[in-house]
Amino acid sequence: MKWKNYTCLPKQFRNERIFDGCGISGYINIDGTKDNGKKIIDMLCILNERENGLGAGFAAYGIYPKYKDYYALHFLFDNEQSKERVLNYLEDIGYLIQSEPIPTKTPMDVSNSPIIWRAFYEPRQKKGISSDEQVVQLVMEINEKFEGAFIMSSGKNMGVFKGNGWSHEIAEYYKIIDYKAYMWLAHSRFPTNTPGWWGGAHPFNLLNTSVVHNGEITSYGTNMRYLESFGYKCTLFTDTEVIAYLIDLLCRKHGIPIPIASIALAPPLFDEIEQMDKKYQIALKSIRATYRSAMLNGPFSIVVGFANPVPTLFGLTDRKKLRPLVAGISEDENTLFLSSEEASFKRLIIDSNGLYTFKKIWHLKSGTAIIARLDEGLIREGFEEPFKNIKLTVTGI
């Protein structure tokens, strides 16, 4: 592991965006059963062709039932002073319900390891602004302005654990195996040009939304400037952050259901739209025109987890499918798995001596979302027409 660059990228690299190849994995137990971290670690670590020791991370949902009503803030601090400053600030503007170190297994010979901290927090009620919005602003503020501090995640009953190292090192360091979650996301990376930094590893998170991403967004400038008009600050020198913010904007701020938000991110081609019924044409063209700046271009596959209103796992690739994403569902149809490679699923089968088996393993259609919800199960399988299984009404026709 690299014991430096925790809360920001070294100065000489700040002008550049980080490009990387990556391994991504994730799964959800539809009935809400919680697993320890073993499966997700196995799924991720087998993808070792896709990493070069410069970053990995995990997101786990359902891990803090005791504090489930409070925002679980996961921090990276460079030193005690930055920690004190941030915690004092939080006490000024809200309530710290609990504040403690995140358990880690730091190797003996490290002298300046980061301070890994968590705080369960509730902002003070303010008129005209929701607590969610207050926390979003807080995250933007701390990550932009507080030197030596970085918020890794800010959702409720969930958390992100990430850093600069091989996936197995990060898993050990954060003792991922000890957490119990109903939904897991994981990421390992192969950055091309920078030493990497801890905060810059994936998953990227805002409130309950976490994103792991493989690829490079060629529309970054367009997406970033669009988000800036809505008050988001893109300061992390990576394109994954824009994906997290776009999903936050579409799903939380604009209240768009995720199957439809996925259309805004990777819309069908106009040639395909022209073939559809009038009603769908109007809906799809409205989406494309209104959210033309939210469309993601360039090679990507993403796995997204979020918890509002219903915990959901969501996967998507770019319209040309220039990055891989494979889906698998367990024999009992209770667990939906997504991964960059089928190897992740094979690993689970082999490790369990064949006890763990899959009912089906399949490849997604380009630009088509796969979505599974807690309790409801698989609601989109990743190869449907845009409005399949949706009873759509369009006002005015």
């Binding site: 209104t290 993601l296 040309k320 220039l322």
Partner: protein
């Protein structure tokens, strides 16, 4: 003889006596009277030549060459030949000098200092010959957000509540700018409108009214309401795909339209609804728009008149304060906003204004796009940028700087045969473009001209796709405002800062 007649010509007409067949064709083709036959041979009057090249092209013996007048004026680095010519012309005629086309001063073009990005390794480029790359654009206002309601009991029941405003779908992010019937000929207009319909792009009507023959192309025409209100009737409003209120034009910010009486024949007098032979000078401001509230009212009135069926927009010239003005216009209800840069063309404009007023479109668009974003208004409107979009490279760069649509005129005229002689205001265009004289207008073959425009924009659109593909982008929406994909190599870092573009190497 007054001094003004002695202004040394820029050009010299060389007629090769050996190859001249004495057919006299050149004398009839030259609409400026520079060539005549004295019974023995062709005589050339250099002082009348505008280098329009008509005689050169038409001469069956290839006997004519227009060359630079080598006659050398005493050199002076400050009182250049250009300045001296201006002074001689003014002291000869005592009036405001007219000119046409766009600003011809050799001011550095910012477009030429911008470089494009392309993919290597980490993101694959896209091959436009094998993969789809989309260039469709929605022209008009968009809502800030769409409202989808999910049924409380059945989450698969979803209702799209937001009703979409009128938007016009065009197949390329291109609009042919406003050139009025009057400044250009009937044949030129017809070729432009036919090509626009065929390409499914937009063309502006200019402020010259809409001849009934053009109604059938109305679905691709944006008509223009200018301060003179020439030719505005119910058809002008109802036959069009959109309406634009012209506040200003890049070639002459602060000025109204300017059609010399020489060009007002009976056809023009009918469509503009003005007397034959009279100068059609639009008032400088709209006399019902002295403030932003007045403009908002005019926009509202036009929306009422057109039953909210078509987008209503506003065009302003790129001036120092374009950004806050643009915000006011969008708040005032405009569905699209056109910014016309200081190099924009004209059929006739006072030279002093053409050459010295306004700012470059690159800077204006960057500033307007940025300010509209700060106010969270940018994505609601269609931003059109004109003012010397010379070729596809400029189109690509202006979109990356923030425009939705690039508007251009000169390339269309050049495609049809214009040689950029800058004499449009005289109404003698030897190519049948900027003229109303029947014998000249006939020279422009509508079919040929239309096909050349179609070819031109096909090629621009293909080149746009090539560049998008190289950038790993499969839809032009993802290029708009994507300044990340531009780099600056010019001498002035301040320009890069205003454009929001990094320097090459960064």
């Amino acid at each position: 003889m007054s001094l003004s007649h002695n202004i040394p010509s820029y050009f010299h007409i060389k007629v090769d006596r050996e190859s001249c067949k004495k057919c006299k064709r050149c004398t009839t083709h030259c609409s400026y009277g520079a060539l005549s036959f004295n019974g023995e041979r062709i005589v050339a009057d250099d002082s009348k030549c505008v280098a329009c090249q008509r005689c050169v092209v038409m001469c069956p013996g290839s006997a004519i060459r227009i060359v630079k007048n080598e006659s050398f004026l005493p050199p002076h680095g400050n009182y250049t030949r250009r300045i001296r010519n201006i002074l001689w012309a003014q002291s000869g005629n005592g009036g405001v000098l007219l000119s046409a086309t766009g600003n011809d001063r050799p001011i550095r073009t910012i477009f030429d200092d911008l470089l494009l990005d392309a993919c290597q390794v980490t993101n694959p480029s896209i091959d436009p010959l094998r993969e789809t790359i989309e260039t469709k654009i929605f022209f008009g206002r968009k809502p800030k957000k769409l409202e989808f309601l999910t049924d409380k009991k059945d989450s698969t029941k979803i209702t799209l509540k937001t009703e979409f405003m009128p938007n016009f779908e065009i197949d390329m992010p291109i609009m042919i700018g406003h050139m009025s019937l009057g400044s250009i000929s009937y044949n030129t207009c017809m070729a432009i409108y036919q090509a626009s319909k065929e390409l499914n792009i937009l063309a502006g009507s200019g402020e010259g009214g809409l001849h009934p023959d053009f109604y059938e192309y109305g679905s691709n025409i944006i008509t223009e309401i200018a301060s003179g209100r020439f030719g505005v009737d119910i058809n002008y409003l109802h036959k069009a795909a959109g309406i634009e209120i012209k506040i200003g034009q890049g070639a002459k910010p602060g000025h109204g339209g300017h059609l010399p009486g020489e060009k007002v024949n009976s056809l023009i007098s009918q469509t503009r609804m003005i007397p034959k032979g009279s100068d059609a000078l639009s008032p400088y401001p709209h006399h019902d728009v002295y403030s932003i509230e007045d403009l908002a009212q005019l926009i509202a009135a036009l929306k009422e008149a057109t039953r909210y069926k078509v987008p209503i927009g506003v065009k302003i010239a790129a001036v120092h304060n374009s950004a806050p003005i643009a915000v006011g216009i969008v708040r005032g209800g405009a569905d699209f906003l056109t910014i016309d840069g200081f190099r924009g063309g004209t059929g006739a404009a006072p030279r002093i204004i053409r050459d010295h007023a306004g700012i470059p479109i690159e800077l204006a668009i960057a500033a307007v796009d940025e300010r509209l974003r700060q106010e969270n208004l940018r994505d609601e409107i269609t931003l059109v940028a004109g003012g010397s979009i010379r070729y596809s490279a400029d189109l690509i760069k202006i979109i990356a700087l923030g425009a939705d649509v690039a508007m251009c005129c000169m390339p269309v005229l050049i495609a049809m045969g214009c040689r950029v002689c800058q004499q449009c205001f005289r109404g003698l265009c030897s190519w049948g473009i900027a003229t109303q004289q029947e014998y000249l207008v006939k020279r422009l073959d509508i079919d040929v001209a239309r096909n050349r425009i179609i070819n031109l924009f096909h090629s621009w659109n293909e080149e746009l796709k090539e560049v998008l593909g190289a950038m790993g982008i499969d839809s032009v929406e993802s290029l708009r405002s994507n300044r990340d994909r531009l780099r600056y190599i010019g001498p002035n870092p301040k320009i890069a800062e205003i454009l929001g573009v990094k320097h090459a190497g960064e």
